[in-house]
Symmetry: C2
Subunit: 330 residues, 2 copies
């Protein structure tokens, strides 16, 4: 019985951004078509300065793959003391027909890739057709992932960036202009960036509200990425009072997403959450219906995105003869 092993550098070369976007669309549609089993995830918190590790399990009936992603993060001393990254990941893929282990791949890159693609899927589904200007609050790795993916689904004419750290902003500008040829304007304030936006992306660490409701212009589409745990926050909850709110998973977002605060404060009620994004993609619920409405996509990230993305990587590896086979059972 053969198991394919894929190292980090294999994974990097095995999937294009547009394939990740397609895989994430498949995941969202599957989730809203009773094709997905996705138990609560389990994890272990270690004592500081160590971080945590969690295990996310997903089964997609459409590809008959069960995926398990182990994902660690928050080990600041790893690079200096132990010579390994501060966060790592491993993905197991099982053939759901037999539960044979068909692939073990490094999972360091997949969370970033599928999260970046999530924003792009929401832009296709919810942003104005004539959107041209993107604002990015936060200029770290996930901001780059978002821009890379969104630039596949629209032409970004201007990118307005803001970050607490001036040097982070500067290198973001240099990288994006070089890689994608999009002119990047460094904003003087968060508000100035937000006011420019047809599409607003937030990828901060979610340590508190950074965007006030009044700054957001009519017609803006918001991609809210940074809040993926209880207690995290990026927005003034008032933003949800008059916006059209779309989430990846109502269950997850109610607990861990940006909407947690608006729900707690009764600014948003459960029945006013417009849709899970898979419902919009499947045509079960409407997307944007006017050029004036503010749409918000609250993304916490689902195991099933890892599943469909990793499966595509596995298929590409088989097709191109990449990777190393190992027989755990002969």
């Amino acid at each position: 019985m053969r198991t394919l092993l894929l190292k980090k550098e294999d994974v990097r070369g095995l999937i294009a951004t547009e394939e990740v976007i397609a895989a994430v669309e498949v995941a969202y549609k599957g989730f809203n078509s009773d094709q997905v089993v996705q138990p609560d995830y389990i994890g272990i918190d270690l004592h500081p300065p160590r971080g945590d590790i969690d295990f996310k399990l997903g089964y997609y009936k459409g590809n008959e793959i069960i995926s398990m992603k182990a994902s660690s993060g928050g080990f600041p001393n790893n690079p200096t003391t132990h010579g390994v990254p501060s966060g790592m990941g491993t993905i197991l893929l099982f053939d759901a027909r037999t539960c044979a282990l068909v692939c073990v791949m490094d999972g360091s890159l997949i969370t970033g890739l599928r999260t970046g693609a999530a924003g792009a899927v929401s832009v296709k589904a919810l942003a104005r057709r004539d959107a041209k200007r993107v604002a990015s609050i936060g200029t770290g790795n996930q901001a780059r992932m978002q821009i890379r993916a969104i630039s596949q689904v629209m032409k970004i004419e201007e990118l307005h960036a803001w970050d607490h750290h001036a040097d982070s902003m500067a290198s973001f500008k240099a990288d994006i202009e070089l890689e994608l040829g999009i002119p990047v304007f460094l904003a003087n304030s968060k508000q100035a960036a937000v006011e420019q936006a047809d599409i607003l992306i937030t990828t901060t660490r979610g340590k508190g509200s950074v965007v006030e409701g009044g700054w957001v212009q009519p017609g803006t589409h918001i991609v809210a990425i940074g809040t993926d745990a209880k207690g995290k926050q990026e927005f003034d909850p008032e933003i949800f009072r008059h916006a059209k709110t779309v989430v990846d998973s109502i269950l997850q977002c109610s607990e861990k997403g940006e909407i947690q605060h608006a729900l707690r404060l009764n600014i948003l009620s459960r029945d006013r959450i417009h849709a899970e994004i898979g419902e919009v993609l499947l045509g079960k619920k409407s997307g944007r219906t006017s050029d004036e409405e503010i749409t918000i996509f609250d993304s916490t990230g689902m195991a099933i995105q890892d599943n469909t993305t990793a499966h595509k990587i596995y298929q590409n590896a088989l097709a191109h003869g990449v990777g190393t086979f190992f027989e755990f059972i002969e």
Copy 2:
């Protein structure tokens, strides 16, 4: 960063029964010394004729290893249709200091090994010193595992066996006599086997009560293995009314162990569960205190047994240069 890969045949040769017994003792003691983090396990049930797969996570501070065991079972068509076993397993070991993946090993054998060792640990802690005769209700693979391990901690002079299937009994007798030189007597009835027992082991599928309370003689130690899920049962719950009940985990056994029925029927109350076995091993609670009392060890199996057993296999592999290294991250 190197990850050690161990195939099934590597694992088979890398650990002796007495090492598994020692590892399981370490696990039980750790569990009752606040050295263990063991979240609820997660799993996916597939549609028949497919079975299920579950994922059990454990962290033992004593060895600084986080283990995750994926374990599937109940796929009767696997061997004929797909050429793979009906149940399989994979274990990941992470260095808890960094969460680096240090080992991926086949996990097909470990559940059987550490479950067999559990019975032996309980015999050391709870059986009469002069115990000589063992009765085994059930004669499948786990019955063999139990006898192999228990024969390491006592001299079994007679083994009385019973099973629904006569051919299973016959091959059990042949195998045990050849491998261990213990005389095996095939009982005419369950009752006849049980009445002979200084130590009674049950390893049936738990499809209903097979042992009546009145059959069990004073002084017997019972190793109750077959019940590891809600609804399973091997004993008349009355057995718990006057016995000394020891479990691996009160939390797990209350839900999935043999005691579930006695608790539900108020034959046993929570405060009458004498101990978790780690407490007995640590001397925090007494073991057997007379030759007349009936002791029962209810074992559901814990992730931390996988952890310490797999870690010992990993250490032995490193010491003997067995296995294949792979760099998921270069």
